[in-house]
């Protein structure tokens, strides 16, 4: 191949990469409404296919085509299998593991590229060495962090925060090692050793920084890890001098960061606060001291299935408030059947979705969509809150902290300032709950002691099923 045709091929490949970038952006743009979101995802797929075909022209197939074929084929087979088999309730851990794969691949690509530049014998340009080592650091944090998030969400290990003395010191030291490695790589002092020391320290840091994160904080962590992998992909682009990786990585990084900030805002906590576990410390003092406004002698009113069924059937408007407890009990299909029955009787039914309900952003929406609830009935917090005063019954299913009125009024509460769903403003609030045990955060919920609140104890799915047959019998 002469020089002219090589550069022509390269130009065509670069042009194809621009088309890919456009496809990704248009694909994400089409996700601005559920009506076009599927087309958006297909546009994005087409973009990916174009990039892969273009890349094919750069590869030396004669040498080791089988490496690409085996990796690609096996990855596609395993990926598609799990993507089809996974239950919608397991979506957070599925997203976590796919995310980790991307981060791990980015770290390995950066390692290979760095070794190819032969840092032991030659001086690697500063921009390439820094891009490589940063990719290795961020990619491996994302890989091991996502793996930990997966283990926690899949309940292969406890979902509770794991804390130990000196945790922050250990994490800080690991970060320091990673940064020291980066500096050594940059100045060329034992660069290969330093590179892999950075990578190793970062991988360990990924494990350790997710340890103290509890289940309820997962929406923040999943989003953050998503943005890390995006950033790692973009940095891989810098290391390889490949624009399409830079564009795609930047888009994902922006998306993940935006979601992280939104989730933090919805919990009224900074991302640093979530990461460094200040919540755990506050929580303990609140539980032991006078943090809760729920008086010790406060009584809750327990109701019967028939009473609640009558209340629901006679209601004008019912707002269902789902939480992670609904997902755990797999109650979403029963909830939809109950809603259908109520709608047949002329009751208006809506669903109030708190941004951090569940284990990842939008978790409740996916579960309810799977149960055939139209997305037009899923109302975001800002839009549903003004409707609670005109709501006859707010039916709280497996949600706790996101309904806690202390967040509004009690300054000593650890969740003070967190935006909540105003279920206490409804004419009646009915809370379906397994027991009086406090929710994940371990905070009492004064909602339960209010005069207009009644409790229905038991498994969420069993309770909803009983309500359904009771309503039908009316």
């Amino acid at each position: 191949m002469d020089a002219t045709s090589t550069s022509t091929t390269q130009l065509l490949i670069d042009a194809a990469y621009i088309v890919t970038g456009v496809c990704f952006i248009v694909g994400l743009r089409l996700m601005n409404t559920p009506l076009t979101a599927r087309q958006g995802n297909i546009v994005s797929m087409i973009g990916m296919a174009i990039a892969l075909v273009a890349t094919g022209f750069q590869l030396d197939f004669a040498a080791s085509w089988w490496i690409g074929a085996i990796g690609l084929g096996a990855g596609a087979a395993v990926g598609i299998y799990f993507a089809r088999a996974v239950k919608m309730t397991a979506m957070p851990q599925m997203v976590a593991i796919f995310n980790g794969c991307g981060g791990g691949a980015a770290a390995m690509v950066a390692s290979a590229e760095y070794l190819r530049l032969d840092p032991a014998h030659t001086v690697v340009p500063l921009d390439l060495s820094i891009a490589s080592v940063l990719t290795a650091i961020i990619g491996s944090i994302s890989f091991t962090g996502s793996a930990m998030a997966f283990l926690k969400l899949q309940e292969l290990m406890t979902g509770r925060p794991i804390v130990y003395a000196g945790q922050q010191v250990v994490n800080a030291l690991l970060l320091l090692v990673a940064i020291a490695g980066l500096v050594c790589v940059a100045i060329g002092y034992m660069p290969v050793t330093a590179f892999f020391a950075s990578l190793g320290a970062a991988a360990l840091l990924g494990v350790l920084f997710v340890l103290p994160i509890g289940g309820a904080d997962m929406p923040v962590i999943i989003s953050l890890l998503n943005s890390f992998t995006g950033l790692a992909a973009a940095l891989t682009g810098f290391a390889l001098g490949n624009d399409v990786l830079i564009i795609a990585g930047a888009l994902v990084g922006a998306s993940g960061t935006l979601l992280t900030l939104m989730m933090g805002k919805a919990m009224n906590r900074s991302v640093a606060n979530v990461l460094f576990g200040a919540f755990g410390a506050v929580k303990k003092t609140a539980a032991g001291g006078s943090g809760s406004s729920l008086a010790a002698d406060a009584t809750v009113r327990e109701s019967s299935v028939d009473e609640v069924a009558t209340m629901l059937a006679g209601a004008e408007k019912v707002v269902v408030v789902p939480g992670y407890g609904m997902a755990v009990a797999q109650a979403q299909h029963s909830v939809r059947e109950l809603a259908d029955e109520l709608e047949r009787r002329g009751v208006e039914v809506k669903y109030a979705i708190h941004p951090v309900a569940g284990r990842m952003p939008g978790h409740m929406n996916v579960l309810l969509a799977e149960a055939n609830v139209p997305y037009t009935a899923l109302i975001d917090m800002e839009d549903i809150n003004p409707e609670f005063p005109t709501t006859t019954v707010a039916l709280v299913i497996g949600a706790n902290d996101v309904t806690n009125p202390d967040a509004r009024t009690n300054q000593s509460s650890p969740i003070y300032g967190m935006p909540i769903l105003d279920v206490d403003k409804a004419e009646h609030a009915v809370v379906l709950k397994r027991s009086m045990k406090p929710g994940f955060a371990g905070i009492d919920n004064p909602l339960y002691a209010l005069d207009n609140t009644t409790m229905l104890f038991g498994d969420a799915k069993a309770s909803v099923d009983k309500l359904l047959s009771a309503v039908k019998a009316l």
Partner: protein, 119 residues
Amino acid sequence: MNYAHLLSELTVFVLAVFVGVEVISKVPPTLHTPLMSATNAIHGIVLVGALLIAVVAEPRLGPALSILTVFLASLNVFGGYVVTQRMLAMFKPRPQASIDAKGPKHDDMTIRLTEDWKP
């Protein structure tokens, strides 16, 4: 170190971040899980990088690790897109009758599309 090249790459990066923020902030919260899954698939673009380092005369990581790299990236791409598509297929608007009753929220497009999607 090629400053001109680095600068043009940084330009691309910064502009892409701004485009990303613009586009993503228009995605409604109801689609946040599919969004995360879709962006997940998009960062699977490291598959391009994985192929570039693996399918060469002398893969630096050796055959086993090179295969693993391509495998991870490929899993990310295919799994990510398929699961996103599966999720998005579940999002259905309200049946026609209720749209008429309550007034369309998403203008005429909702009505046109719901024709086919009526349960």
